[in-house]
């Protein structure tokens, strides 16, 4: 990805051997794409088909066999949030984390909350039906309420500019509306989540970010298929 960021000769050497294994749709991979693009770092992309994983991917990530994998000078880095911290430590321009230790701890806390609680609860609301879905929606909205409060007085979770937490929650800015359309449920509305909706707009429209969104129609098809598989498996309780 080209960028107008200034790079030193040293950085050019470091950049030379940088490869990202990703899929076209994975929100975890998108985090890494955004981090690298925001910092103006050049890299090669290898698109994986997860139903037919390449031998290189399996070699680099034998434990989880998943994407993203970032390979830097032949050394593999795994797990998107770990990769983001690595990128931030090697390439200091456009920092993703603040300098103050307690602000860093807060950022890490919310990124973890997003992955541990918000994403699974929204997925549950997406795949369940009937009473189970109603309960799942309540949980998802409670979690989203915690996130909403973090945006008080801020354009992005990181303040004026996009940071680690924004990238970690990036999936909310495109996948949430896909889920809502596929399962016909509104999870976030203007009354309860005005700040989150504003953040979604700001994030989705931000330069660099908006260049990498996967095609929405392909995402709808993909998640429609997931929805059918899951809702036909789930017996109503």
């Amino acid at each position: 990805m080209a960028s107008s960021a200034m790079v030193t000769a040293n950085q050019l050497i470091i950049m030379a051997e940088l490869k990202l294994f990703r899929t076209w749709s994975s929100c975890f991979c998108l985090r890494v794409v955004w981090a690298l693009d925001l910092k103006g770092i050049q890299y090669d992309t290898i698109f994986e088909d997860l139903s037919n994983k390449s031998s290189l991917l399996l070699q680099y990530n034998p434990i989880y066999k998943k994407v993203p994998v970032l390979v830097h000078n032949g050394k593999p880095l795994l797990e998107s949030l770990v990769i983001l911290e690595y990128i931030d430590e090697i390439w200091k321009q456009t920092p993703l984390l603040p300098e103050d230790p307690s602000e860093r701890a807060t950022a890490r806390f919310w990124a973890k909350f997003g992955d541990d609680k918000v994403l699974p609860s929204i997925w549950n609301a997406f795949i369940k039906q009937g009473k189970d879905q109603e309960e799942a929606i309540v949980t998802a909205q409670e979690n989203l309420g915690c996130v909403e409060r973090q945006l008080t007085g801020k354009k992005f979770f990181n303040g004026e500019t996009i940071g680690l937490v924004d990238l970690a929650f990036g999936w909310l800015a495109n996948l949430l509306s896909v889920f809502e359309e596929v399962c016909g449920v509104t999870l976030i509305d203007h009354e309860k989540f005005p700040l989150l909706l504003e953040w979604i707009q700001n994030f989705a429209d931000a330069p660099i970010i908006k260049e990498s969104w996967p095609p929405r129609d392909k995402l709808i098809t993909r998640y429609q298929a997931f929805h059918e598989v899951h809702t036909s498996k789930e017996a109503p309780k």
């Binding site: 797990e79 770990v82 690595y86 230790p101 701890a105 890490r108 915690c146």
Partner: protein, 231 residues
């Protein structure tokens, strides 16, 4: 900030609570340990960790920091005059963070499953735990590079993440009548475990296995008396 303006909210049997305590010991930071009463949550806990309502919480001055490994990294970043908990090389840091996340997500899930599983399920969890330990044995070889700990000469992030589970690992061995850390299969980890538990930063906060066994029995009895889980 006053040196003793540091508090840890916790419970002595919790491996997660051990982690910030070990980190503070490494940095020679004095702190007040505020013990939560088993079965109830203090006002201070509910105020300082309203999202999860869980221990540990580090309170530094008036700032609460939550989530055990996030607290450990915070301690490392604030108290820079003491020995470093994370390595200085970014790739080594990434490796330590990766394995610490593996311990919390995969390994702990398998151990937890093994503790409460019955019959056929037990074997499946036991296999998962054994597999996990084999992976960690390999990781130990690579991270330690022949030295005493995952962190090298001194205890580091991954030592703290994994080592904090050693007490409960021993309880699991006793309750299930199996040897999980084994001189034949995981020789590196066996010796590492001894060194870890004997380390000055760990000794005072690692609970005795017998005491943990008692807690384990109380918890198991509570679970049997509890209503059946929702799903």
């Amino acid at each position: 900030m006053a040196k003793n303006d540091v508090k840890v909210l916790g419970a002595w049997p919790s491996p997660y609570v051990m982690r910030p305590r070990i980190a503070l010991n490494i940095k020679s930071v004095n702190y007040d340990f505020l013990e939560e009463t088993f079965g109830s949550k203090s006002e201070l806990l509910l105020q300082s960790n309203p999202v999860h309502k869980k221990v540990p919480v580090l309170i530094h001055g008036d700032k609460p920091i939550c989530e055990s490994m996030i607290i450990v990294e915070y301690i490392d970043e604030v108290w820079t005059s003491g020995p470093s908990i994370l390595p200085s090389d970014p790739y080594d840091r990434a490796i330590q963070r990766f394995w610490a996340a593996y311990v919390d997500e995969k390994f702990f899930a398998a151990m937890k499953g093994l503790r409460s599983a019955q019959g056929e399920e037990r074997k499946a969890f036991l296999d998962q735990v054994t597999e996990g330990l084999a992976l960690l044995e390999e990781a130990f070889g690579k991270c330690s590079k022949g030295k005493a700990f995952f962190g090298g000469d001194r205890i580091g992030l991954l030592d703290i993440a994994f080592g904090s589970f050693l007490g409960w690992l021993k309880v699991t061995e006793k309750v299930n009548g199996v040897k999980l850390l084994d001189e034949a299969k995981t020789p590196g980890l066996v010796k590492w475990a001894e060194r870890f538990c004997a380390d000055a930063a760990v000794k005072s906060v690692m609970p005795e296995t017998e005491k943990l066994l008692e807690v384990s029995k109380v918890l198991a009895a509570k679970m049997k008396g509890a209503p059946p889980p929702k799903n």
